[in-house]
């Protein structure tokens, strides 16, 4: 048996935040400047009462409605999120119930950001190819915008909320072909933790420990209450310059391929300016480097499945195509794999 990617659906919340709206908050910016520096025209923002779990239910329901699978087919559900409903229970357990999955279904959450989809594929492949599961739902869902201060343009311009649901399923393997998913390369460097972080709300700095009412900042003017996303963009950018070229070389080496063997390169959609720079630095042919984020922004762990779905809809993927998937970001955490398109 081998694991194949059988279907992807994604869901974006309806509320739009576009560049002209952002410029009303920050008058020294222009819509054209935001567009040219980020490649993003609009982001989708979850409503106050709309959580990652709600976005996930919508994405998975679309997958069921597409006919790709039925609730009773699913025997393992994994949810990648950094904005869960609760500390406990596991949000994936809530989803099992809301989605009507059978009680013999395994379910777990895992906490990763921009590298999460790659790690999800790796775990799903492991579960299927060791005979532990047959139909694995890899769900990515994030509501980073709930962590964002309205006036912090360095992150508000980039991040949007979304969920993607990907079905990984077991199929008879044909040994003459390269694996449908894999090999994998992973990496971690916790020294970068401080550069993309929500400092408060966990056990290290529980929000209850701070005086209530109004915001609270630390000595570096990082907002502590409410729990707020801090990103050091220049440090993150420097990290990608260090890590991503090696990551791409690493996956080529492990797969025994050259760039000529790759039909489409699909990186985590962080921001288009950065992606273009990485593309040129690594010398990836532009016509095989796919970008799709102008309609939703950086949706963290959902960017890769969203862009895969958009590439498929745009006719950029056909059966048998080999796609390089590369994720990198918060942690720092990174990973890459090769996917043979099977839909």
């Amino acid at each position: 048996m081998q694991a194949i990617l059988k279907a992807i659906e994604y869901y974006l919340p309806p509320q739009v935040l576009n560049n002209p709206q952002l410029c009303e908050i920050a008058p020294n910016w222009s819509p054209q400047k935001i567009q040219s520096k980020t490649g993003i025209e609009e982001r989708r923002i979850s409503e106050e009462e709309e959580l990652s779990s709600d976005l996930a239910v919508k994405a998975v329901t679309k997958l069921f409605e597409s006919g790709a699978c039925k609730p009773e087919d699913i025997d393992y559900l994994m949810l990648c999120t950094q904005s869960p409903d609760y500390f406990l229970p596991t949000t994936a357990c809530l989803l099992q119930n809301r989605l009507g999955l059978r009680t013999s279904c395994g379910a777990l959450d895992f906490n990763l950001g921009c590298s999460g989809f790659i790690y999800g594929l790796g775990m799903a492949k492991g579960l299927i190819e060791t005979g532990q599961a047959t139909n694995v739902l890899v769900v990515t869902a994030e509501t980073y915008t709930k962590f964002i201060t309205p006036t912090d343009m360095s992150v508000r311009t980039l991040f949007g909320d979304a969920s993607a649901a990907t079905l990984i399923t077991a199929q008879d393997s044909h040994s003459e072909q390269a694996p449908a998913i894999g090999p994998f390369v992973y990496g971690t460097d916790g020294r970068g933790a401080k550069n993309l972080i929500v400092q408060t709300g966990g056990m290290r700095k529980p929000v209850a420990g701070f005086a209530s009412g109004g915001g609270v900042e630390d000595a570096d003017e990082h907002v502590l209450v409410p729990p707020t996303l801090y990103m050091n963009g220049p440090e993150i950018f420097l990290f990608t310059l260090d890590a991503v070229p090696d990551l791409v070389a690493g996956i080529c080496s492990r797969a025994g391929i050259t760039f000529d063997d790759v039909d489409l390169f699909l990186f985590h959609q962080a921001n288009e300016y950065m992606l273009r720079h990485l593309r040129d630095k690594i010398e990836i042919p532009p016509e095989r480097f796919y970008v799709s984020m102008s309609h939703c922004g950086n949706t963290v762990s959902s960017t890769i499945p969203i862009a895969l779905k958009e590439a498929y809809k745009a006719g950029r993927l056909k059966i048998g195509d080999r796609v390089m998937l590369v994720g990198f970001g918060v942690g720092y955490s990174w990973g890459a794999t090769m996917l043979r398109w099977a839909v």
Binding site: K33, M153, S154, N232, G233, L241, Y273, H277
Partner: protein
């Protein structure tokens, strides 16, 4: 790397008219300095000069010339061999 080449790259990055940035210009006072042009500066130094200067080092540079010195130090034979 020479000064005219470095200044030309800065003019292009900040999209300002020729002659508006000098060696003694204060880096963070350049018109258009923002979190985004800061990232653009790191990208430009990597692309044009093949050096990766940490953001903290850039922030410690007061003038354009200070930054040029950092790039030159990074490009020096001793550093390259290290």
């Amino acid at each position: 790397m020479n000064a005219p080449q470095f200044l030309a790259a800065l003019h292009e990055l900040f999209d300002v008219s020729a002659g508006s940035i000098h060696k003694d210009s204060v880096l963070q006072d350049i018109e258009g300095w923002s979190s985004m042009t800061f990232i653009g500066l790191i990208a430009m130094l990597d692309e044009e000069f093949g050096v990766r200067i940490p953001p903290g080092t850039i922030l410690r540079c007061h003038t354009v010339e200070d930054l040029m010195d950092e790039v030159a130090a990074e490009l020096s034979p001793n550093k390259m061999a290290a």
